[in-house]
């Protein structure tokens, strides 16, 4: 089985939520942060497609701004969802590494 079958790791939505974990950011800030954090370049269309979904599902919210570049932040539901996802990934990673060490 290929690692990609586990999904999640490079899901644009998860990358955005992770990027917002340390505070609000606008679109370009997220792109730069995600690229430096993971090496993944999210195109502008992909980024805003995922942003729209996340906002609609109540996981992030826009912060009022005078600037055209509107910042976003995690909501309480977004923090909870991100924590759950990252915990699952952490569990998966630690189990996988443990098993590899034993093999």
């Amino acid at each position: 089985m290929n690692l990609s079958d586990f999904g999640h790791f490079s899901d644009p939505s998860l990358l955005i939520l992770s990027s917002l974990a340390d505070g609000p950011k606008h679109g370009y800030g997220m792109m730069v942060d995600i690229e430096s954090m993971t090496g993944v370049h999210l195109g502008p269309g992909t980024l805003y497609g995922a942003l729209a979904r996340l906002e609609k599902s109540g996981l992030i919210q826009a912060i009022p701004s005078q600037d055209r570049r509107r910042p976003y932040q995690l909501t309480a539901a977004g923090i909870k969802a991100l924590r759950e996802q990252l915990s699952q990934l952490e569990k998966l990673a630690s189990t996988g590494l443990k098993r590899l060490a034993q093999a």
């Binding site: 998860l14 269309g45 600037d67």
Partner: protein, 319 residues
């Protein structure tokens, strides 16, 4: 209107009224490469097709990454077929046909195109059939909109057949339209016949676009409206994985066909330059122009297909 404003206008009005201003501000900072432009165009298509309706955390978290690649390659393949059919139309009754029998290099280039087209078709059938079975099954589930979507290609095909019957009736002389001759030749090809034939091409292209969009929408909505979502996604992931491999084969076959067409055209041009400068193209336009339009359609479709595949592989790589 600049490129950025044009790209933002590709999105639906409702989306633009919410995100348009900030999205344009983002494009001012990060629109660096043609790949970004393609990404924005695909984002606009997603927005039109309602991808951002996937509001459920569990659902969007499990959306299969292969799906986008499959859909892009499928749409690219349909566009490539449009280009391929125009190439066949261009060669029909042309002096290039004789060269295929007498010139070994031209014959080899043409055979390559044919072999690659068969491989591409088989790959699309092999990859698409399991997905088609899932879509059709889902179409007959109560309160699912897929059935309406599947009526689009059926209707497009019916309209095309009816138009074909209309053309045949004109050709046989059963119907008469002012300014339209039953039979034409390169020397006598009135504007009425060009309009009628151009109408057929338009119906074909519009039907192909509408059908592709409907199939795209049907596949994109496969995980919606089912419970539990995770089970539906798990069942589909195998189908998507299988179709992804065949989408890669289809894209490579398209690339071979494109290269074959370029080589074929170049060889024919070296032997028959007068044919290229004549008015024997589709609808009796310049052969050169007709050939260039055909190759452009094929090249754009191939690039789109390869972009989809590279995108799919890059996702796998970073996973």
């Amino acid at each position: 209107m600049n490129v950025r404003a044009f790209l933002v206008r590709l999105y639906p009005p409702a989306w633009r009224s919410r995100y348009g201003d900030e999205f344009e501000a983002l494009l001012e900072e990060c629109l660096h490469s043609p790949l970004d432009v393609v990404d924005v165009a695909l984002g606009a298509l997603d927005a039109h097709l309602g991808f951002f309706n996937e509001t459920n955390w569990r659902l969007w978290n499990m959306v299969n990454k292969h799906r986008t690649t499959i859909l892009i390659v499928f749409a690219a393949y349909i566009a490539f077929v449009v280009g391929g059919l125009s190439l066949v139309g261009l060669l029909d009754d042309s002096p290039a046909l004789k060269l295929m029998k007498t010139n070994a290099a031209i014959s080899a280039a043409w055979t390559t195109i044919q072999v690659a087209s068969v491989i591409a078709l088989l790959a699309v059938i092999a990859g698409g059939t399991p997905l088609a079975v899932v879509v059709i099954r889902r179409a007959f589930m109560p309160s699912h909109s897929t059935l309406r979507m599947l009526l689009v290609p059926a209707t497009a095909f019916l309209v095309l057949v009816l138009y074909g019957v209309f053309l045949a009736s004109l050709g046989k002389g059963w119907l008469h339209l002012p300014g339209v001759l039953p039979t034409v030749s390169p020397e006598k090809f009135p504007i009425g016949n060009k309009l009628v034939l151009g109408g057929f091409m338009l119906v074909f292209i519009l039907g192909a676009i509408a059908s592709t969009a409907a199939v795209w929408k049907s596949i994109a909505s496969l995980e919606e409206g089912t419970a539990p979502i995770s089970a539906a996604t798990a069942n589909l992931s195998g189908v998507y994985r299988h179709a992804f491999i065949l989408a890669v084969i289809t894209s490579l076959a398209m690339l071979v066909m494109l290269i074959g067409t370029l080589v074929f055209g170049s060889l024919v041009h070296s032997v028959l330059p007068e044919w290229f400068s004549s008015n024997l193209g589709l609808l009796m336009i310049k052969t050169n122009l007709s050939y260039n339009i055909t190759v452009t359609i094929m090249a754009m479709a191939t690039l789109a297909g390869l972009f989809g595949v590279i995108r799919g592989f890059s996702v796998k790589k970073t996973a």
